[in-house]
Structure formats: C-alpha cells, structure tokens
C-alpha cells in the first residue's frame, strides 16, 4: 500500500485509456480513446507530459516498436500499465465510488 501513488484526474484518465487499449496503446490511440470516451480532446502537450510523468512515477512503462514507413521511419512508443499503476488507479476509483455511494446529485438522473 505504501508503494501506491496518488493520481490526478487526467492521470487516471490516461491510465484507464492505456488499460482499455491493451497492446496497441501509443500516443495517437491513447488520445483517440480519451476523446471517444470522455468527449474532451486532450492537447498533445498535456498527454505526452502526463505519460512521461506517469513513467517517472513507475506507473506506466514504455517500449519502442519497429519504425514504420507511414511515420517517416519513426517508431511508435507503446505504453503498458505497471502493477503499481493498476493498484494506484484502482485505489483512486474506489475512493470516488465510496464518495459517490448513496449521494444524490441535484439535477442528475443517474449519479
């Protein structure tokens, strides 16, 4: 538990998007997944800075794929969530759920 890190809202979104994408999580797909699921388009700058920060915290890992001609011979940087990352996002989500439980939000049909 001591090794579990606190995560900001956008960090949680990024970690969850990587988990959803599985093996195909790299900059473009992560951004598309976030846009599709949250209806908000993150700027590339915010996304790459967050990915670097998550990697420094040991919550995600990255590896470079093979260079592809479509990208001018540039490799994709694929991301996976570490066990510590999974624990951290699970704890953050449980906290949200405990706070929401039994709470009736005015004007919201399904909280």
């Amino acid at each position: 538990m001591a090794d579990v890190q606190t995560l900001g809202e956008f960090e949680q979104i990024v970690v969850l998007a990587i988990l959803r994408l599985g093996e195909n999580a790299y900059g473009v797909t992560i951004r598309e997944e976030i846009t599709a699921r949250t209806e908000r388009e993150p700027s590339p700058g915010a996304l790459y800075v967050t990915l670097d920060r998550l990697e420094e915290k040991g919550l995600v890992r990255s590896r470079f794929g093979d260079p592809t001609p479509q990208r001018g011979g540039r490799a994709k940087r694929f991301f996976t969530v570490s066990a510590k990352g999974v624990q951290s996002v699970a704890r953050a989500q449980r906290s949200y759920q405990r706070l929401m439980r039994g709470l009736k939000l005015p004007g919201v049909a399904h909280a």
């Binding site: 590339p44 700058g45 790459y48 670097d52 001018g72 540039r74 490799a75 994709k76 940087r77």
Partner: protein, 204 residues
C-alpha cells in the same frame, strides 16, 4: 518531410531524441486529417508543455540559476562597457596624435556601434545561455525560461514603478507586451547557447 526533421530537432531540445522522434511520428499520423497547421501547433504546444514541466519540476532551483544568470549578465555588461571605454580612449588618443580631431570615419563609427550591439544583444545572452545550461544538465532550457520570467517581472515592475501611475490601461497592456517582446528577442541567443550546450552533451 523536411519539416518533420525540424520538428524532431525542436522537440529533442526538451526530451530525448528517440522520444522526440516517436512524438513527431504520432503527430505525422494526424497530418492527413488535421493538416500541416495542426501538426505545427501540436509540435509547439508539446515543446512548450515539456519545457514548462522541466521548469516546474524544480522552480526554486531554476529561479536561483536565473538570478545568478542576471548577475553574470551584469558583470559581463560592466566588463564590456569598461573595455569599450578603454578602447574608445585609446582610439581617441591615436586619432589625436595622428591629427584627426574630427573623430573616426563615419563608416568606422557605424561598424563600432554595430559591433557593440552584436555583443550586447548577441554575445552576452549567448554566453549566459551556455553558462545556465551547463548548470542544469538534462533540462538545459528550463533556466532560460526562469530567466525570462525574472526578466519580465523585474523590468516590468521597474517600468511600472517609474511611469506606471501615468499609464492608461491600454498603455499598460502595450508596455507589458513590448517588455515581453523585447525579452523574447533577447532570449533567442540565450536559447541558442543553451541548445548548443544540450546538443554537445547529447552527442557525447
């Protein structure tokens, strides 16, 4: 795509070369849907975000470096003015001894002023940029950001204290923007110096 190489070079100033390459590859995938304009907006926003983060990882240290950079800049300026005054005195003496009391030829005088401007606006900030970058390995450009913030805050505040009471809101905005523009212009050789130190470090 030549512009992709330029974009890669820009991003490699704030991240590792392999990460810069993969980020540019990602942005290139969106060129078909978003266009070249979107590509460049993405490159610049990513570079600024990464640079800003480098600064905010250690803001106190970066501001400390910026203050030391300002002191170094002042020392260099004083040394330059002293050397220029000594040189002027020596040249004046030579002209007097050779019987040309009207002063140097106008072309020589213009060249002298151009050289002085090049030193003040080019060489001094370039050297300060190199000095700052050597003291922040891995985040060479971050102290330059701190220097610019310090520059705008200090000179902006002094300007306001001096003449601020007479400013209308419009004049205030114009004054602030002109201070920012001058500072940005002055920063170009400083960033070039820091970039040079970074490239040299990365090549080893």
């Amino acid at each position: 795509m030549r512009s992709a190489q330029v974009a890669e070079w820009i991003l490699s100033l704030v991240t590792s070369p392999d990460r810069a390459a993969s980020t540019v590859g990602d942005l290139m995938e969106n060129v078909d849907s978003g266009g070249v304009f979107w590509f460049w907006i993405g490159v610049l926003r990513t570079a600024f975000s990464m640079l800003w983060r480098e600064f905010f990882d250690e803001p106190a240290r970066m501001m400390g470096l910026a203050v030391r950079g300002v002191v170094l800049e002042l020392v260099m300026m004083v040394a330059f003015v002293t050397c220029a005054a000594l040189l002027g005195a020596v040249l004046g003496g030579i002209l007097h001894l050779t019987g040309t009391p009207d002063g140097p030829h106008p072309v020589l005088a213009a060249l002298g002023w151009a050289l002085a401007r090049a030193i003040v606006w080019g060489l001094v900030p370039l050297q300060v940029g190199c000095w700052l970058a050597r003291r922040a390995p891995g985040r060479e450009l971050a102290p330059c950001v701190a220097f610019m913030i310090f520059d705008v805050v200090v000179w902006g505040s002094l300007g306001l204290m001096w003449e601020g009471a007479q400013y209308s809101p419009f004049q205030f905005v114009v004054e602030f923007l002109s201070t920012l523009a001058m500072s940005a212009l002055y920063m170009l050789p400083m960033i070039a110096g820091a970039a040079w130190v970074r490239r040299k470090r990365m090549s080893h």
